[in-house]
Amino acid sequence: MPRFLAAQPDARLIPLPWHLPLEQWPNDVLVALPRGISRHVVRFIQVGSEVFAAKEVLEGSAMHEYRMLTDLNRLRAPAVEPSGVVSGRVDAHGSPLDSILLTRHLQFSLPYRSLFSTGVRRETVSRLIDAMVVLLARLHLTGFLWGDVSLSNILFRRDAGEFAAYLVDAETGELHDTLSDGQRLHDLDIAVVNLFGEFSDLKEGRMLDEQLDPLALVKQIETRYHDLWQELTGVEEFAGSELSRIESRVRRLNTLGFDVAELDIQTSPTGETIRIQPKVVDAGHHSRRLLRLTGLDTEENQARRLLNDLDTYRAQNNLSHTEESVAAHQWLMNAFEPVVTAIPPDLAGKREPAQIFHEVLDYRWYQSQRERREVPLTEAVQGYIRDVLSALPDEVISSEMISPLGEQRQLVNPLDPSQGFVDDQDMPVDPWEAEAYAPGTEVLPDHLDIDALRRRAGR
């Protein structure tokens, strides 16, 4: 009998065919979603309206990753949510099967294979890279050594005009109190090598825009990471007369989306020089503020945009003296909600509500410029639905881009992009495969055979 380990068990998972190796699961419980490459068998399971990613691994690895993801979620790091581990599986003949780690599919997420493909704008690529660098720096701030940073292990979500990146694979991860510089740089090295490999692979597969160069892309990751880390943790020294630089450092960090929880300020004995260094910084400056004011849980840049609109709303409606939370409530009822409720239910799966609101604000701005008048939100949202939203692909569960646009090539297995496209190559004979090692190799025993050791030493 399989054993389920879960904090919030979902009873609908229990009747699934756990006695089959994941590779042999029937198609009616699976969905083909675009995803990165992996060395394990990974499938998406659909149960009712929910989708889970299932990964078949050794029990030890599955448990480790489940605990790692649980910890990351507790630390509010951007990572997928673990839903359980199914272990103790046996097949119909009673032979043991590996455990399965289940994670909840991240709604509205966009895997990289669909983001770097032909026609992608250079700015978009820059934004994706920035999102990835922010993810890596945030994980490093929490003491998480990833060990396998790669595009395949990241999901992106739209975040106003930017992207937010999420960790989807923590198999090799470790949580420490803090990371040494060596650990961080090692993780960055791994990221650079893996991403170079993945970009090169996309290029070989004709899925990377021609104007993008893998080497330039990974160099950009390195530079951006070092810059961001310096801003987040670096020491700054200045004359005692430039006290405003403390304030501007905090502001710069806020603009980057981080709150400063602890700033170390040291003055020289005579007060001539001041040294500052942020000690504790937390990501999510704007999203925390929006959540506190309105209860809306959004990505960081969406929050920034919504807060700006809230400020505008206060100014326009003479609410600048009203308490902020009261004004926020009015804005929620009179600006945000009407836009979201105007979206027909059949189009709701195309974007998240906060993203829709952001896009409607953009739409209204362009329309107002074009028509040289202040277009009301209620009017703009109708235009947005008609001109933009109805033409967009569904993103709740994005199944676009299983194969590149305009391509006739077929994936070997639509459920597993790790196997590449169908071609008609036969595999050559492997001289090692019959014995699992080079012919003539002395096979090491699987137990401590001291007599064999003596024989070897005697030779």
Partner: protein, 366 residues
């Protein structure tokens, strides 16, 4: 290629009351396969990570060849962590999958192709170079991952529990492959494992660690035949060495009603102790004639091939004493008509006895 040297290398985690690695002194020869082994928390992984540059060295130093690398960032140390990157890229050929990192380092194309071809020959993957990796087996994927490290031509290979995520079948074949490749390549290798069988079968030498302290470093056979202290004696060997406490008496050490003969010079090395621990490997026990051996009450007899494994406790103990008494295991070469609850006399063969001081835990026999 290069030798590696830890000199008093120490790692103390902030807030910890004792070092994770305490003054490690270890010389690893050029081309040597060194295995670090020990129980969880013994400092083996931390030592490897200090060498890789992932853990700060708080005191002491580490050199690779004649370079002091103590404060160098990981990528400037000319080392390769093997099996760090397993992912195979489906649209790239096997050759590109092995050599892509060289392209990033601007190694010229001709040199790249040469290195990849050499590695592929070594790994039996020559015929696969122009193919896509989609249909490769688990073992072949492992070999491509090894190839990635080989083409970089590092001074040192580092492997941190590389087999822990593999299923049992792949683990056995990968272990054999790693050992065979290492001896052919002759690249200095530091390998961390918690599994003494892996350590004993793969390493040229094995460093046993406990609580951050190096206990002994020696060839696998020397560790087995001459363990330096009680910890190594108990850790190396499967089934483990019998460690039997006894009182010092004239001519030897008394265990129950039998005096195990111990040479006078050995007993002379004790400093006022009244008790010692005797170490006897299961296979060095032989059935004794008459009363000339330790009386053992048999609990279980297991026949494995030509050998019988006998499990029991010292005879003549009360039921309560039996609960805490160490188990005695003997591997007898030929079959004996033995059954549970029977008492049998066993003695160690001459020259096979290990004697340890309880006070210092150190070996005092030769």
């Amino acid at each position: 290629m290069a030798a590696v040297s830890f000199k008093d290398a120490t790692r103390v985690y902030p807030g910890a009351d004792h070092p994770a690695v305490d003054k490690l002194n270890l010389e690893i020869g050029d081309g040597e396969f060194m295995v670090l082994v020990g129980p969880s928390g013994c400092g083996k992984s931390t030592s490897l990570r200090m060498l890789a540059g992932l853990e700060e060295v708080n005191a002491g130093s580490i050199t690779i060849g004649d370079r002091d690398v103590t404060d160098l960032p990981p990528k400037d140390r000319d080392i390769a962590m093997v099996f760090q990157n397993y992912a195979l890229y489906p649209h790239m050929t096997v050759a590109d999958n092995m050599g892509f990192a060289l392209k990033m380092q601007n190694v010229p194309k001709e040199e790249r192709e040469k290195r990849v071809l050499e590695a592929a020959k070594l790994l039996g993957l020559e015929d696969f170079l122009s193919r896509k990796p989609k249909a490769l087996s688990g073992g072949q994927r492992q070999r491509v991952a090894m190839g990635r490290a080989i083409v970089r031509q590092p001074q040192v290979f580092l492997m941190d529990e590389p087999l822990s995520n593999l299923d049992a079948k792949l683990r056995v074949s990968t272990r054999t492959q790693i050992a065979a490749l290492q001896s052919r390549l002759g690249v200095t290798t530091v390998y961390v494992t918690h599994d003494q069988i892996e350590a004993m079968t793969m390493g040229d030498r094995v460093a046993v660690m406990k609580d951050g302290v190096l206990q002994q470093v020696d060839s696998p056979l020397a560790l087995y035949d001459r363990p330096d202290n009680l910890f190594v004696a108990g850790f190396i060997g499967s089934p483990a060495m019998n460690l039997i406490p006894g009182k010092i008496v004239e001519g030897g050490v008394q265990v129950g009603d039998y005096v195990v003969p111990v040479a006078r010079e050995v007993l002379a090395k004790t400093s006022g102790e009244s008790d010692l621990t005797l170490g006897i490997r299961p296979e060095t026990f032989v059935p004794a004639e008459g009363n000339d051996g330790i009386a053992v009450e048999i609990a279980l007899v297991e026949e494995l091939g030509a050998d019988s494994y006998l499990y029991g406790t010292r005879a003549g103990l009360s039921d309560e004493e039996k609960l805490n008494a160490p188990q005695i295991v003997a591997r007898l070469q030929s079959r004996h008509p033995l059954a549970p609850n029977q008492t049998v006399r066993l003695r160690p063969t001459p020259d096979s006895l290990h004697v340890f001081s309880n006070a210092s835990s150190k070996r005092i026999s030769d």
